[in-house]
Amino acid sequence: MTAERAVRIATAALAVLVAGLMVRGALVMPRAPRVGELVDRHLAESGVIQPVTAVLLNFRAYDTLVEVAVLLMAAVGIHLLAPVGRASPVATEPLALGSAVTPVANAFGTRLAPMALLMAAHLWWAGSTQPGGAFQGGTVLAGAAVGLILTGRLPFSARRWWLRTGMAIGLFAFLLAAVGPVGGGAAFLEYPPGLAYGIIVAVEGMLTLSIGLCLAALVVGVPPRRPPDAGRAPWTP
């Protein structure tokens, strides 16, 4: 048995161990009282009637706040990591941005984008009463944005102020809603009574925009900073 083979077997054993521990944990864990029932009982206080939205934007809003911060940090982080063009020309190849490649992409880019915008707005608005919300709406928005970017219809660069503002505005709106009521004696992330619905819908609207733009930025990536050696032969594997 070679050393490589022994390592693979050990790796497989590790994977089996992880799975086994997970199953064991699930089996021996005491059956906790369902937190979902707690949500149902207090749903009326949350400001919305969709339980998942109530959890995301009210009962466990802290998770969502930090999650949106992580999404923004990832979008900023990939800009910090833009390749500079040293060893591998493939890393500095321009991204697939620019003019439309096929008539199909061309046609779909323009015709689907308005419908996707409508769909994103509907998902945002529906989130308070039905399945939907900022993440679903943002994902549809990101899909429309990626379609437009790839067909060269949406100039997408972090140098544009609207893009930077749009990517960050959801986190700022959420932080404002979290900190604002503290001045009135409420706890962090405690919405004032009666205002919860309005705050959640407003924050979700901003979040839909920011999540859409951040996801689109994560998908298309960042073009390289000035390739130093543009005349180099194309990289071949």
Binding site: A15, M22, P228
Partner: protein
Amino acid sequence: MDAVTDAAPVFAVAGVLILAIGVFGIFDRPDLLGKIVALNVAASGAFTFMIGSAPVDGEGGPDTVLQALVLTGIVISISVTAYALSLLRRVADETGRDTLDAVDDPVDPTATDEADAADTAGAPPAPGEGRR
């Protein structure tokens, strides 16, 4: 027992298996792209396990808090993947390789064109090379 309740244990078992495959891949794949894909496989397994093992409420849906946690996890997973891919692109940019083996030995940016080209040509692992 409705359909959702019946299927839940199947999802939980499938989730654990997918997680195990992903964990194996993270450590077994030599290339960074393979590790990133394996990480996503493992994450999908964890999410499937969470939803599959969640208590099912009267209307047939999994526990709403777990749904919200998994939704959060999916977005974090996307962020981590995109950031990891950017790191991989930077590693490839700096070293011409898609593994961490050569990070301590970056290509000299001041090297002449011939040396640079030769280094780059030899750098990307051929298909199958470095696998076993």
